[in-house]
């Protein structure tokens, strides 16, 4: 394993979560197989000096096949995606446990659960005591299809139909939004301790921050996402996260295979609270800073700050008091990031955040699948994860990412 800086959290669960390249139940990690998709990070050893790795078939067959093999019907069902991320990544997903906390009535959670179930995440725990809301069927297709009382159970039932190979559990006895008493906290902690990744869907921002703090202590990674009307936000705290980065160059070797360089990179994520207190001015030169810290970013950070001070409530920008509060928060954010306060038009701001408590099905589709993709990357330990704030706005037409304090702590070139 590559040398990494000391983990922020050191419980056994933390160590497990930090080592995505060592799947549970994988007996052998020794084989060197023929293909870039079959050979995977389970089989590489770190090499001391950077070198180019030609990913091509060895002429002699290796003695043993990897234990991470996916066979039979599963191999057929997952064929097209295994051709993208490889057998080892598929096997790591199979042994991953993910909790989806909150928002079970809404489209975001439905989309994310669907994508994770289809991909073959080993265990999904849907945690939400809430009943299905009257308008749930506007964006949650599981609700629209199945009906039923408890949203978590409806979503879990739907997910089981989509992929019987996945173990899906509904927990309606635990409420992540209630962590006032020690008994309540203990319940939430028990759920968090049983998984590798906690996915917080559409929970209020203060709740996300509280759960993130608890999850960190248990060595559990946090992904928080929310759909606010036409917009979506995603924040990640993957603790100390190691992943395999493959970059293929356009040039090809003599066999016509692209030349692939592989690095094992370790990132250290700050907790969500620290990320929100981070100043981009500490990292970016003035010119880049001006380009990076957009009015959209500042507006979202201001709304998040407002929510933290108002029990997670969305500001009502039609009201002057809320508008003033958000304007003040925008100015504070501009100061925090060392940029001038942007001249954001009040009606434009109101239009951007209109209907923030509501959800629109296609926005849920975009955000839920981006969220699921981040979970899959996280449990596979492949590809650079989204670090660590993403804002998607329909009006702006882009999903931009800002790095609020995530640092690369190690990078090693790995061979075949």
């Amino acid at each position: 394993m590559a040398p990494v800086s000391p983990a922020r959290a050191a419980s056994p669960a933390a160590k497990r979560a930090l080592s995505p390249a060592t799947p549970r139940g994988s007996a052998s990690t020794t084989s060197t197989t023929a293909s870039p998709t079959c050979a995977d990070s389970t089989s590489e050893r770190a090499s001391p000096t950077p070198k180019r790795v030609r990913v091509a078939a060895p002429t002699a067959a290796p003695a043993a096949a990897t234990a991470a093999e996916v066979t039979g019907e599963a191999a057929q069902i997952y064929d097209r995606q295994i051709r993208l991320w490889g057998h080892a990544a598929q096997a790591r997903m199979r042994s991953a446990r993910v909790a989806v906390l909150g928002g079970s009535s809404r489209g975001l959670a439905a989309e994310a659960v669907k994508a994770m179930a289809l991909a073959g995440v080993g265990k999904l725990v849907i945690v939400d005591p809430a009943n299905v809301t009257p308008t749930a069927s506007a964006a949650n297709f599981f609700v629209a299809k199945e009906g039923g009382e408890r949203a978590a159970e409806v979503v879990a039932a739907g997910a089981r139909v989509l992929n019987p190979l996945v173990n899906v559990e509904a927990r309606t006895d635990v409420d992540v939004t209630r962590v006032a008493t020690e008994a309540e906290r203990e319940q939430v902690r028990a759920v968090l301790a049983s998984v590798d990744v906690a996915v917080l869907c559409d929970v209020p921002v203060p709740v996300a921050i509280t759960i993130n703090t608890m999850a960190r202590q248990l060595g559990v990674k946090t992904l928080f996402a929310a759909v606010w009307g036409f917009n979506a936000v995603l924040m990640a705290d993957l603790l100390e996260h190691t992943f395999l980065h493959e970059s293929s160059e356009s040039s090809a070797d003599k066999d016509g295979d692209p030349i692939v360089t592989r690095h094992r990179i370790t990132l250290a994520f700050p907790p969500l609270t620290e990320a929100l207190a981070y100043s981009l001015a500490t990292k970016l030169p003035p010119r880049q800073l001006k380009k990076s810290v957009t009015p959209t970013l500042l507006s979202f950070l201001a709304v998040i700050a407002y929510m933290r001070e108002h029990d997670g409530r969305h500001p009502d920008l039609a009201k002057e008091t809320d508008r003033d509060a958000v304007r003040a928060a925008t100015a504070a954010q501009a100061k925090q990031h060392g940029v001038a306060v942007p001249e954001v038009d009040a009606t434009a701001l109101e239009r951007l955040f209109r209907g923030s408590t509501l959800e629109l099905a296609p926005v849920c589709a975009v955000a839920g699948n981006l969220l699921a993709q981040e979970v899959l990357k996280t449990v596979q330990g492949k590809q650079r994860p989204l670090s660590n704030l993403m804002i998607y706005t329909t009006a702006g037409g882009a999903g931009n990412v800002w790095n609020l304090g995530v640092v690369d702590t190690a990078s090693v070139t790995v061979g075949e």
Binding site: A57, R80, A144, R351, V366
Partner: protein, 597 residues
């Protein structure tokens, strides 16, 4: 409470009413299509028609979530409709299990929709839908995905670029001598196994290929050898299904053919010589082995030469038996015996030519042109498609804004950059030289049995004063029907000329006159029971502009340029035979890249 209350509140009453009253067509009910249909149904699009010719395969189930195990081999369109109706019972969904190029899906039918969605996996169909939408002036949302890449874009005919405004990547080709005599990469051996050896042994008998080969004078000797080699193979094929056939093929192609090639010294002056297989020893060793394919976990590693020989012999015998019993076979990546044959034949050839061997898993990807797909990419792209559709309904295509928080509507594509996951691409106006959207389109109703080309041309030049009859050409696809110097067809009926009554666009192009260019015109032939020629709808105004620059003739879209197989094609330039490998294959992709950087 009304389930659509949140959507109505967000979109506004007017836009939401438009959604409810919009007639949309979606072409393709696969990876993108399933996600798209869900989004359209959830949002409450009132009338949705979908077309897909495909049936459900088990490898679809990881992403095409409207289908489950029990649906395998049923119609995608019909099952998708059933599943999606359960999301929303208050809408109309009509499913068509058929090819979008079928006659029933004519221009009038396309024009009956307010919006069309392309959720297609191949270039040809995507271009056909684009052509019909441009001809019918129906807004099109086009999307594609491959792996983690994907994009959605708005095609508003006459306003934005169309799908054909930019040339698509040309298929990969290999010189025939590389494939047949001097392979140097695994793909050469795979193409040889799949496109030469498989059809030679188990396909239709054909001779044309050799006739073309003889014309090549540069490598006369080599070509003669290849012809002889193919003839020997045809003779051998007569014993297909008889005992020892597989062994005879094995000896021929891995020893005798290689030895014959070795006798051509010139070929090997700059290359490493191939080494014929020790056929007797390998056959003997293979006979001792059990079926190597039984161990599925070994699909990801390279099998030994003995194992590969065993796979070759047993798959050849199985395919020969099938050929003898039920006639010519064609390659299908999902046919286990065919795939086993191609993987083994290719690897044995790689071994002979000192090329690195590939695993079964990899060879299947290459031979089947399999494009890796994940559900999440399709999910994001299908969400963007619906957001783009809302932009079109709102009439906000190419709108500009000065607002700091918004950007003009645009195409979008998925990226993996540290600072971005979804990037915007500006929409551009049509490319003036585009062979599809630079043309004017007119629809005429004719009785093809009684209307002559002359009748039609007369009606056209009557309607378009800038088109003088003695100065135009008429083509159907690449076929010349009329030219001032070629008027033989004027008296023949369209039926007699084999002009199909649906999807036939006659290209009427004026020659340059008085240094003036006239907009090229496409005439869509609509079948009619009535005698005579009737121009349907408004007659478009053809633009004229000073020449030059000269507008080049380009092939019409929707033709038969490509299929998703590797094909033998004749390259006009040097009459050399080229093995062509189409890139338009696989699943949700076709291809992705029409985005600008």
């Amino acid at each position: 409470m009304d389930r659509h209350a949140p959507s109505r509140a967000l979109l506004g009453t007017q836009l939401f009413a438009q959604v409810e009253n919009t007639r949309v067509l979606m072409v393709g009910a696969g990876g993108i299509g399933c996600e798209l249909l869900k989004n359209l149904a959830m949002l409450g699009f009132g009338h949705i028609e979908l077309v897909d010719l495909d049936t459900i395969d088990v490898t679809n189930l990881n992403r095409q979530f409207l289908f489950q195990r029990q649906h395998v081999s049923q119609s995608k369109a019909h099952v998708a409709r059933e599943s999606a109706l359960r999301f929303n019972r208050n809408i109309t969904i009509i499913s068509h299990h058929g090819n979008i190029k079928d006659p029933q899906f004519d221009l009038a039918w396309f024009k009956s929709f307010n919006l069309v969605f392309n959720a297609l996996d191949n270039l040809d169909a995507r271009r056909h839908v684009n052509l019909m939408c441009v001809a019918g002036k129906v807004p099109l949302i086009d999307a594609g995905t491959a792996g983690y890449s994907g994009q959605s874009t708005i095609i508003q005919p006459g306003v934005t670029e169309c799908y054909d405004c930019h040339p698509k990547p040309t298929p990969k080709t290999f010189p025939v001598c590389t494939i047949r005599s001097t392979p140097s990469a695994p793909i050469h051996c795979i193409v040889w196994a799949k496109n030469f050896m498989f059809p030679q042994l188990f396909g239709e008998d054909e001779d044309e290929g050799d006739a073309n080969l003889v014309n090549d004078t540069t490598n006369a000797k080599q070509v003669q050898e290849l012809v002889r080699e193919a003839q020997a193979l045809r003779e051998l094929k007569r014993s297909a299904g008889l005992p020892g056939f597989a062994e005879r093929v094995f000896v021929k192609i891995y020893r005798h053919d290689i030895e014959r090639l070795l006798s051509m010294e010139g070929l090997w002056q700059m290359r490493q010589k191939p080494v014929p297989l020790d056929v007797e020893a390998l056959v003997a060793a293979a006979n001792e082995l059990r079926d190597p394919l039984a161990d599925e976990t070994a699909h990801c590693r390279v099998r030994t030469i003995e194992e590969t020989t065993k796979v070759f012999l047993q798959s050849t015998a199985a395919l020969a038996k099938r050929y003898a019993a039920s006639g010519p076979q064609s390659f299908d990546k999902d046919d286990d015996a065919a795939m086993a044959f191609v993987s083994a034949a290719a690897n044995l050839r790689c071994h002979v030519y000192h090329i690195a061997l590939k695993s079964f898993f990899e060879i299947k990807s290459m031979a089947g042109n399999i494009v890796p797909i994940v559900a999440t990419t399709n999910g994001v792209v299908a969400g963007l498609m619906v957001l783009h559709a809302l932009q079109v309904l709102e009439g906000r295509v190419l709108e500009t804004t000065t607002d700091l928080l918004t950007a003009p509507p645009a195409a979008q594509h998925l990226v993996s950059r540290p600072n971005q996951v979804l990037a915007r691409d500006k929409l551009f106006p049509p490319v003036s030289s585009c062979a599809v959207c630079a043309r004017a389109y007119v629809q005429v109703a004719v009785d093809t049995a009684s209307t002559t080309l002359g009748d039609l041309l007369e009606a056209i030049v009557d309607a378009f004063s800038v088109l003088p009859v003695d100065n135009v050409t008429v083509l159907e696809g690449a076929r010349m029907l009329y030219d001032p110097d070629f008027d033989d067809n004027l008296g023949r009926t369209l039926a007699d000329l084999n002009v199909p009554s649906h999807h036939a666009f006659l290209l009427v192009d004026a020659y340059d006159q008085d240094d003036q260019l006239v907009q090229p015109l496409s005439v869509y032939i609509q079948k009619s029971g009535k005698k005579g020629v009737e121009i349907l709808g408004n007659v478009p105004q053809l633009w004229t502009k000073p020449a030059p620059p000269k507008v080049q003739d380009a092939p019409i879209a929707g033709g038969d340029e490509l299929d998703d197989e590797v094909v033998m094609a004749v390259d006009d330039d040097d009459e050399d035979i080229i093995m062509t490998e189409s890139s338009a294959a696989g699943n949700e992709t076709g291809h992705v890249g029409r985005t600008r950087r």
